[in-house]
């Protein structure tokens, strides 16, 4: 769980394309409208995350980068 009480997924150390694969797998198990916090140190993760969300209809609520760490909140789309 993240500090905000959302479920979280830490993919630090995972090599591309694993972070997006794991994110997709996890989001599929979530209820519609639920929010997941995801953390990655993959260089191009922010670009891939936004692209994945644009294609799948899921929503990036927030995305911040500190040093090499990217932290995002993703909401599962409502059908």
């Amino acid at each position: 769980m993240s500090r905000a009480g959302n479920p979280s997924l830490d993919t630090r150390g995972e090599l591309c394309p694993q972070p997006i694969i794991e994110l997709a797998r996890r989001v599929r198990t979530m209820a519609e409208g639920a929010v997941l916090e995801v953390v990655s140190d993959d260089l191009a993760f922010p670009l891939d995350l936004r692209a994945w969300c644009a294609g799948t209809g899921n929503e990036v609520l927030d995305l911040r980068t500190e040093g090499r760490i990217h932290r995002a909140f993703v909401r599962r789309r409502k059908r």
Binding site: P17, Q18, W52
Partner: protein
């Protein structure tokens, strides 16, 4: 219109390059629901650059193009990791290798088999690709395509929208899901028809140059792997061995040992991850490269090889102008220091794998 039109669903094999993006745009234009699939084999050059993580790397150059293409056309893309199973394709390609380490026909068959499984999983009606007849010598000529169609099990459920008019009608064309007239008859290596079509369809963002993302088609990479195979049976080679062939400068030492020397800080850090299965070399008092020497059945290579390895390593560090450089060697259950004279450029040239 037949009822199937409203329910038709397809799987796009999507690399995110120009051809697969155009194929996607052509199929979407016919009102078909599409899910993209992108297979990760472990041999994508961009993925490797991301893995190394150079500080000066530009993220926009390293984005996943399949996800980007899906986003541009509002299509969901599923990335599937097939890297472990793909090792078997590489170990025993039934249809052989191309010019380098590329088992293109077996690769297409395997990926299309996976796409067929995905098609069943998501309830899609057919699979399509961005292949162009005559574009690639190993897998995109008529005979190879016939073999691939039969072996992958998709048969006429496999569509190649960019060359469809030159090929036999497929099932979606026969039943009216796809209008053959709206598909293309592209042939060969000329990219101009695709560039023209991209302008017509508003496909503006695609990677340049086309192709060239696969290590298996890279001559340098293939030379390193074939050299590795001098020591190992093909069935013994692991993913980690093939991964290390992508990194650093490679040397074949005088007594047969293998040495990898990092070329920059991030490669040195990357090599550090593999120290549990190799002997690691670093200079004790001079900044420079990290190197790995392969162990043989868990044992250190012969002393002569270790000495040469240390001298080569010393050459790629701040101590290259010194008379002696002390190199620390650490291996599982073994640590020692070797004092060597840095190798000359000529000596390095004699052992390096080109």
């Amino acid at each position: 219109m037949p009822q199937e039109v409203s329910r038709a669903k397809a799987v796009a094999m999507l690399s995110g390059g120009l051809d697969s993006s155009l194929a996607l745009a052509l199929v979407l234009r016919q009102g078909i629901e599409v899910i993209g699939v992108n297979f990760s084999t472990g041999f994508c050059m961009t993925d490797h650059q991301r893995m190394i993580g150079r500080k000066d790397a530009r993220p926009e150059k390293l984005r996943n193009e399949a996800l980007r293409a899906g986003a541009d056309l509002q299509v969901p893309v599923e990335i599937i990791d097939i890297s472990t199973e793909y090792m078997e394709v590489l170990r025993r390609p039934r249809f052989g290798f191309g010019k380098n380490l590329n088992p293109c026909v077996d690769c297409r068959i395997f990926m299309l088999q996976k796409a067929r499984e995905f098609m069943a999983e998501v309830g899609a009606d057919f699979v399509f690709t961005g292949e162009v007849l005559g574009q690639r010598p190993k897998s995109q000529h008529r005979r190879a395509m016939r073999i691939i169609d039969a072996e992958c099990g998709l048969g006429d459920r496999l569509v190649r929208p960019l060359s469809a008019k030159l090929l036999a009608p497929t099932w979606p064309e026969k039943v009216g899901i796809l209008d053959r007239d709206q598909l293309k008859g592209f042939h060969g290596r000329d990219r101009n028809p695709q560039i023209e079509l991209a302008e017509q369809l508003g496909v503006v963002d695609y990677p340049q140059p086309a192709g060239g993302c696969c290590y298996l088609t890279d001559a340098n990479y293939a030379r390193r792997v074939f050299d590795l195979l001098r020591d190992h049976d093909r069935t013994e080679v692991e993913q980690e061995d093939l991964l290390l062939c992508k990194v650093g400068r490679h040397f074949r030492l005088p007594r047969g040992g293998r040495l990898i020397v990092g070329r920059f800080e991030e490669e040195n850090l990357f090599l550090d991850r593999f120290r549990s299965r190799h002997a690691r070399l670093v200079a004790t008092a001079h900044k420079g490269a990290t190197a790995l020497v392969s162990l043989r059945d868990g044992e250190l290579p012969e002393a002569e090889d270790l000495e040469v390895a240390a001298s080569v390593l010393a050459r790629y560090g701040k101590g290259r102008g010194e008379a002696r450089v002390v190199v620390e060697l650490s291996a599982p259950d073994h640590e020692t220091e070797i004092a060597v004279q840095p190798a000359t450029p000529e000596a390095c040239e004699a052992w390096i794998l080109r």
